[in-house]
Amino acid sequence: MIRRQAIVLLALVGLLVATYLWLYKIGALGELQCGTGSCEYVQTSRYAELLGIPVAFYGVAGYAALLGLGLAGLQPRFTADRRVGTLLAALATVGFAFTLYLTAIELFVLHAICRWCVVSAVIMTAIWVLSITQRRRPWSPMP
């Protein structure tokens, strides 16, 4: 149970980060608070869009789905349902793979790091690890 709670909390924080980057991308925010990183450079590069849609929006959608699924998995009738755990793990794996791709673009193509993207990458990695481990553990329903 504690793992699913952690997934939900992380997904919420990830959703906020992705929303922040998406709002910047659509022009609702003036500038990114990035310190010494290269957020603007990364976010204005051609890799910040995929199939005409801002990459950040994929993050918003992915984290929202993880959040919704995680919250559902906390409900008493689903706590012992392995399908929820499997779906969470599958979704987190897709998100983790996408994160690896984006991080590789930053490191090897753009040679620039966006701190907010790093935050998102850490969150998604943590969610992936938790989703895999929660699936392996047999569920002990709450009393």
Partner: protein, 218 residues
């Protein structure tokens, strides 16, 4: 469990509030000193070399990543500068025409425009063409261009702000659109007093052309 949901709500409220605050700040009018993107409609028609009273003007549509443009800039252009521009016979106008097939040409055009903002367009132009190895490596030239900027004495803070804000993206795009409207398909392309130049792009041919046009003007 109740405590967990309270924590979730607290994170959502704080995070959502921060986002809302950020978007409201954006809604405020920008400070007068804020560097705004330069609009396409600014009527900028390229940096020029040479006297305003020169009877002949050649406009070059060029791409900083294009090897032919680099060859022209490093082999032919020095002679043209010395024999035609410095003597007052010719004025040279540079227009950006970054080709979509080139990964960093638009970025390089931006670097030149940002240097131009500090009065060093031609210095950056020369750096980009004289050190053209960057165009063959495929590596991100960001730090190399900053080194070029440092070498020609740019204020790098201003340069970075200009580059990060893509301040001249609209200007570069306007140049591309004007070139396309004139029929430019490749680079370098030249127009002599507004007419397309279809001869060989060598200093000898330009010199012969300028000499013949100068005689006609007299």
């Amino acid at each position: 469990m109740k405590g967990f949901y309270m924590l979730l709500v607290a994170v959502a409220v704080i995070g959502g509030g921060a986002l809302w605050y950020g978007s409201q700040r954006r809604a405020a009018p920008p400070a007068p000193s804020a560097p705004l993107p330069v609009a396409a409609a600014e009527a900028f028609h390229g940096y020029t070399l040479g006297s305003d009273s020169a009877p002949i003007e050649i406009t070059e549509y060029s791409d900083f990543e294009c090897p032919f443009c680099a060859s022209f800039a490093t082999v032919q252009m020095p002679v043209i500068r010395e024999q035609l521009i410095a003597t007052g016979k010719l004025r040279w106008r540079f227009r950006d025409f970054p080709l979509p097939s080139h990964k960093y040409s638009r970025y390089a055009a931006m670097a030149a425009q940002c240097a131009g903002e500090q009065g060093k367009f031609w210095e950056m132009h020369d750096q980009l063409f004289n050190n053209h190895q960057w165009a063959q490596t495929g590596k991100n030239p960001r730090s190399l261009f900053r080194d070029f900027g440092r070498a020609i004495g740019l204020d790098l803070d201003k340069y970075d702000a200009c580059m990060d804000g893509q301040r001249y993206a609209a200007r570069i795009e306007a140049s591309v659109q004007e070139g396309e409207a004139l029929g430019v398909r490749g680079t370098p392309s030249f127009f002599v007093n507004g007419r397309p130049f279809t001869g060989r792009a060598t200093s000898d041919d330009f010199k012969a052309l300028v000499d013949s046009l100068t005689k006609k003007h007299k």
